[in-house]
Subunit: 129 residues, 2 copies
Amino acid sequence: MKKDRQYQPTESELEILQVLWKKGSGTVREVHEVLEAQKETGYTTTLKTMQIMTEKGLLSRDTRHRTHIYFPELSREDCQQHFLNKMLDGLFDGSAGRLVMGALDNKKINREELDAIREYLKQFEHPSS
Amino acid sequence: MKKDRQYQPTESELEILQVLWKKGSGTVREVHEVLEAQKETGYTTTLKTMQIMTEKGLLSRDTRHRTHIYFPELSREDCQQHFLNKMLDGLFDGSAGRLVMGALDNKKINREELDAIREYLKQFEHPSS
DNA sequence: TATTTGCTACGAAATGTTTCGTATATCAAT
DNA sequence: ATTGATATACGAAACATTTCGTAGCAAATA
């Protein structure tokens, strides 16, 4: 019943969440090393951002040891849904069908993904009639 | 060949673009009246934002008369693709299939939309083999 | 013509986000 | 114990975005 009362991550915050979603958890150093490989950025920048995210409730952390360990508090799935909803409302007139078709146009989709989508569609068949 | 060299709209800018996409074009007053119905906001705020958007190339305008008329310079479709790509990269590991499935979960999709999607999928059939 | 109304221009405050320098503490190694 | 490497905390600058007040001009109206 509550769900969407969560803070929505900014661009930078999203980059950090992505790392933590993949790893499950991580230290500032670990997260920073991934980010550093993608873009020019300083260690304390990553640190500060992760601290702010913790204040906001996007992350939690274990501070029992000198090196803190961070955990995502917003799930990837909830985040995906949040942004999908936003796009839906803001750009696709609320039509999920249009969004899906837009996504299909967007990138090359391989045979397996297409099959998976077709399979997935079956579950939306009228179950009774 | 150039395409994506366009500036990406912010949240507020998107709201304005939406109005203009629907109407095709409009004055500040017209846009503002729509926005005002959605949220508390001042006229000069809308005006200023539209002026900035014009500087950025997101809008153009006809200034021949006292009351300027604004036109979107970024198409809805390009904007959709831009944000879909962003979500794809940032949240779905680049997998359009996952994004599509996430979107299918997201909102109730009616029978017609489902059919349209299935129909749409056909065009991705192996065209040659 | 004088007043009111409605428009644009523009500066700048308010707010939000990102970046980084510096202080300080802890641990490891000499 | 001293030094060096590595942590966190934190303030504040640098940027970006949003909001709004005010000035000035043009059109409509009294």
